[in-house]
Assembly symmetry: C2
Homo-oligomer: 228 residues x 2
């Protein structure tokens, strides 16, 4: 039982730091999302597409989490937005403390901060980073039962992106079954279907994300007088 106790303490400490991150994001009016998936589901490709679509309208910054290498950070930096790289050296998930240490490297006036978590459909679900929402990607090459097999991630996410829909003719995958499985775990999940190769669905996803960023930016400050 001792490991459970320690784990709880670790999570409590993480939750405290995540609350600090959340307060920081809120005070700066930065919309922060935690992007989650298995290795190779297309987190970085979707980010590249998203950055290209929105960088002329929004101030975007990226936090890249990887077990090893800065490959993804270099890919994103080539698209002309600020990137902070976290190399976890074997740790299988990002924690709030790591995000906190990355924040000073990014512009204070960023409107959208995307945190690309370590590729792992299990462990990152347990760690609040202070984000506004978790977004999980599943690709059509992975099997449509993934929401049932890894439910925590889908339960704690607000958005599901079914990616690589260009590969549907070549794989055994039912988008409808995947979405039904995801909704059986979390009926509130908002779903987008995308292909980073063909570009299908990218506009709808980016339109939605732009709206969320502007919504937060234009929200009255807490405690500010409301117009009568």
């Amino acid at each position: 039982m001792s490991i459970i106790t320690v784990e709880r303490k670790v999570l409590k400490k993480n939750d405290d730091l995540a609350a600090e991150n959340r307060a920081c994001f809120m005070s700066r009016r930065t919309f922060a999302v935690n992007l989650l998936s298995s290795p190779g589901s297309g987190k970085t490709s979707l980010l590249e597409r998203t950055v290209d679509a929105l960088k002329h309208e929004l101030r975007i910054a990226i936090i890249e989490g990887d077990v090893q290498t800065d490959n993804d950070a270099r890919r994103i930096a080539a698209h002309g937005v600020p990137v902070a790289q976290i190399v976890t050296n074997g740790l299988c998930h990002l924690e709030a403390s790591l995000v906190q240490s990355a924040l000073p490297q990014l512009p204070e006036d960023m409107e959208l901060c995307v945190i690309e978590n370590v590729g792992n459909l299990v462990c990152p679900a347990s760690y609040d980073l202070g984000e506004h929402m978790k977004i999980t990607i599943v690709s059509t090459t992975e099997g449509d039962d993934k929401p049932l097999k890894y439910p925590a991630m889908f339960r704690r996410s607000s958005v599901l992106i079914v990616n690589k829909i260009d590969l549907l003719p070549y794989v055994q995958f039912s988008v409808d079954a995947c979405i039904a499985n995801a909704h059986s775990v979390n009926p509130e999940l908002l779903v987008f279907t995308t292909s980073c190769s063909s570009g299908e669905g990218i506009d709808a996803w980016c339109d939605w994300l732009r709206d969320r960023v502007r919504e937060l930016r234009d929200e009255p400050a807490p405690g500010a007088a409301h117009p009568a």
Copy 2:
């Protein structure tokens, strides 16, 4: 630092139990492999192909590890071999204790035991289950830099299977680059390329596996007199 201490204790305890499992496998002349990959790389599909190819020649039994559901166990059981299911209820990897608890459910005279680990390219690398070797699958839809980004898994494996090669025309993936990356992390890795859809490469993989099982079965018992 306390979590590191606990983690070490956990790993020490795991290693002790793994040694017991290994002794059990050796005494029964069971060749045991620990099958590892991301979610959706094709572990279960490869197992189905492997079972179909070898079940009339070898006594095979399977241990299925899943965070939730017994979907995979039911898929494998339909192929007519004994299966023990471990549902980890959120745990992101199998541990030796879980394998030990599954062993009494399987025939003592099994010649090949395949342990399908939880879909996760990070955490399962740290846990010895008592297997003879770890085998990692990476699929062509995941990106050819995965060995660099998740090096521990590739460093600790004996075999790499590059799966879903039927999808190569539709994805950006270089088999050569993937193998070169894997060998830069672990030069000893033996590599197979497979497609569970077309069947390409399955024979070579199954031939190799059959040879390993027979090699162990026909090895002189430890301490037995060798022929002069």
